[in-house]
């Protein structure tokens, strides 16, 4: 009996290990080697940290990364602000009968590919788009206003894209919270604001953290939305990586940037967990 469960364990473990090893570890090792190779002046490939140095020496890369990271944090925060009331409404306020239906309504847009959804936004926002059409017909403006291709529209697009990944963990942690905690806090003399900050937020901390990690990582690594809604000047770090690989055909430089993105984003998440006093295992369980 015991040997069977052991066998079962390995049967399920092997595909996961193979998947991790073949599709993640090997390509990463390949990229790591690539990032450490540099073509010197003589035209020979040598081992060097020159590709990494480029990131710190050339201001534009450093600046792009900081900008990307900062915007990703803002997007994560805004996504939380936007989705928390929705999650709270669905789980605590609306009649339980309708909550499943509302959750489906929330998920429905995400059955459409991100590309199509982002194009949906461009149809709404562009100079000859739907919103401009109404504004002109109402006489509020005479000329079409370009609402796309700026940071605000890009952030809006990124928040929209990320909402699902925040709202699902929030709903599941709020669902686990018994209403009596809120009532007990109120009974003990707490105001609504105190209940929110002292009871609801701490209770949902693990859901908030896991949602935030996912949203932050996805936003940081997003290429499509910044490119389509932020336009040519959006300066998203993934675009730099893309440029190195595709435009400059400098794979070594691209690989080094890829690694820097991985390391720096991990550092930011680590710092975030330290500041919020959460731990990763608890947040993801």
């Amino acid at each position: 009996m015991k040997s069977y469960t052991k066998l079962g364990f390995y049967v399920f473990l092997v595909p996961i290990l193979m998947w991790l090893f073949l599709l993640i570890v090997i390509p990463q090792i390949e990229l790591l080697i690539m990032s450490l190779r540099f073509e010197n002046d003589a035209g020979d490939m040598v081992w060097s940290f020159e590709n990494y140095k480029e990131f710190f020496v050339n201001e534009i890369y450093w600046y792009t990364f900081m900008r990307t990271a900062l915007y990703a944090i803002i997007v994560t925060f805004l996504t939380f602000i936007v989705t928390f009331p929705i999650a709270f409404y669905i789980t605590k306020i609306v009649n339980k009968k309708y909550s499943a239906f509302l959750i489906i309504l929330l998920l429905l847009p995400f059955w459409v590919s991100e590309l199509v959804r982002v194009y949906g936004w461009t149809i709404l926002l562009r100079e000859s788009g739907v919103i401009n059409y109404f504004l002109q017909n109402l006489g509020l403006t005479t000329r079409g206003i370009e609402m796309l291709y700026n940071d605000a529209s890009m952030i809006m697009g990124l928040v929209y894209t990320s909402m699902l990944f925040m709202v699902v963990p929030l709903i599941s942690s709020l669902e686990g919270m018994d209403d009596s905690y809120i009532e007990a806090a109120s009974d003990l003399g707490a105001s609504r604001l105190t209940i929110f900050f002292k009871i609801v937020i701490p209770y949902c901390a693990s859901g908030i953290v896991s949602g935030s990690i996912v949203v932050f990582m996805l936003t940081l690594g997003n290429y499509l939305t910044p490119n389509l809604m932020g336009g040519k000047n959006s300066l998203w770090f993934t675009e730099q990586i893309y440029n190195e690989f595709i435009a400059s055909l400098n794979w070594n430089q691209g690989a080094a940037f890829g690694f820097l993105l991985l390391i720096l984003s991990s550092l930011i998440i680590w710092a975030g967990l330290k500041i919020s006093k959460q731990n990763l295992a608890k947040a993801l369980s």
Partner: protein, 354 residues
């Protein structure tokens, strides 16, 4: 007499039914008061209105002469111990107890002192730094009560807090709660569907049914002199006969048995006779007067220690009757199938209208 709670003609109607139908209630200062009723009788609705989580449709709730309707739960001088206790899992014991004190903006020094005092009073000194998940069921119970009592409320409301405990612990906690109430002197209003909890702990019990009080009385009176058939049936065990009034205080049961009874209600025709298992006397002495006598056939002995009962049928009928069997060896010879003479005094045959 000082009344801490004064409820007048309280009503609560929901869209499809009314949960509380005109309740009047006076609770004296420092008493252990229970509200006893079956599930769905409206007792939780009543409690939630006193706590402030529900607004009454009409009527008034006064606590120490102050009108409470329209006052939010966080501004009422009452505290509620929830059915599931609702101890905050992300805080330790100390933080749980200090939660309400912090809302009152007391200094940290005062808070620490009060927390330690109350922990000592509930016999959990030194448990302040423990996590809630490390406590046993009974300890959680006491922390939940301490968390409310530390705020020195006018009334402590308890919503079936013993329901989740196992039988043994529940018996211990009953006594514990009674002691705590006596030590603190705070008025307790205790909601339960368990008659033994209500009878053991309370100074006074209100029996509730269909959104109304059937009787408010001391546990002893409630048991000995139930005013309505619902109380007679709900509090304690009873043998019930459907009967018709014959003349004066004589009734004839469906099975054709004659009883001399005590009439509680005004009866015209149909009625019900309630007889407690322990009021039936086995093999009564001939000198006893005022007894209804009948033959019982023993079907089975339901052994339960000091609470052992006989399941019998009366005379030639199939009507089953429970009789308490004293465990004093006097009746040790009784076995299944025996036919025994039994009697019950007409004072113990209470007749209610049907």
């Amino acid at each position: 007499m000082e009344y801490v709670l004064d409820v007048k003609n309280l009503q609560k109607h929901f869209a499809d039914h009314s949960a509380v139908n005109g309740i009047d209630l006076l609770v004296e200062e420092g008493k252990f008061f229970s509200i006893l009723g079956p599930s769905g009788c409206g007792k939780t609705t009543l409690l939630r209105m006193i706590a402030g989580f529900l607004e009454p449709t009409s009527g008034s709730i006064k606590i120490r002469d102050e009108e409470m309707t329209g006052v939010a739960p966080n501004h009422r001088p009452v505290n509620l111990v929830f059915q599931n206790l609702a101890l905050f899992p992300m805080m330790n014991v100390e933080q749980n107890i200090a939660f309400g004190l912090k809302r009152k903006k007391l200094s940290q020094k005062e808070i620490d002192k009060k927390v330690n005092d109350i922990l000592e009073k509930v016999h959990l000194k030194g448990y302040g730094k423990k996590e809630v998940s490390q406590l046993s069921g009974g300890q959680k119970q006491r922390i939940a009560i301490a968390r409310s009592l530390v705020l020195e409320p006018s009334i402590l409301l308890l919503d079936e807090p013993l329901g989740a405990l196992d039988l043994k612990l529940r018996e211990t906690m009953k006594i514990e709660l009674k002691k705590l109430q006596a030590e603190f002197g705070t008025t307790f209003i205790y909601i339960t569907h368990d008659q033994s909890e209500a009878l053991v702990m309370s100074d006074k019990v209100a029996v509730m049914n269909n959104g109304q009080f059937e009787q408010i009385d001391t546990p002893k009176n409630l048991y000995a002199n139930p005013k309505t058939s619902f109380v007679a049936g709900f509090v304690g065990e009873s043998n019930i006969f459907n009967a018709k009034l014959d003349k004066d205080d004589n009734v004839i049961s469906e099975e054709g048995l004659n009883f001399k009874v005590t009439l509680i209600d005004e009866i015209t025709k149909n009625c019900e006779v309630y007889i407690r298992p322990e009021s039936i006397i086995l093999m009564p002495d001939d000198t006893l007067e005022g007894l209804n006598l009948f033959q019982l056939t023993v079907k089975t002995i339901l052994f339960d220690g000091s609470n052992t009962k006989l399941l019998t049928t009366i005379e030639k009928t199939n009507h089953e009757i429970m009789v308490s069997l004293p465990q004093n060896r006097q009746f040790a010879h009784i076995k299944d199938g025996d036919v025994i003479q039994a009697g019950v005094h007409f004072n113990d045959c209470k007749c209610y209208k049907k």
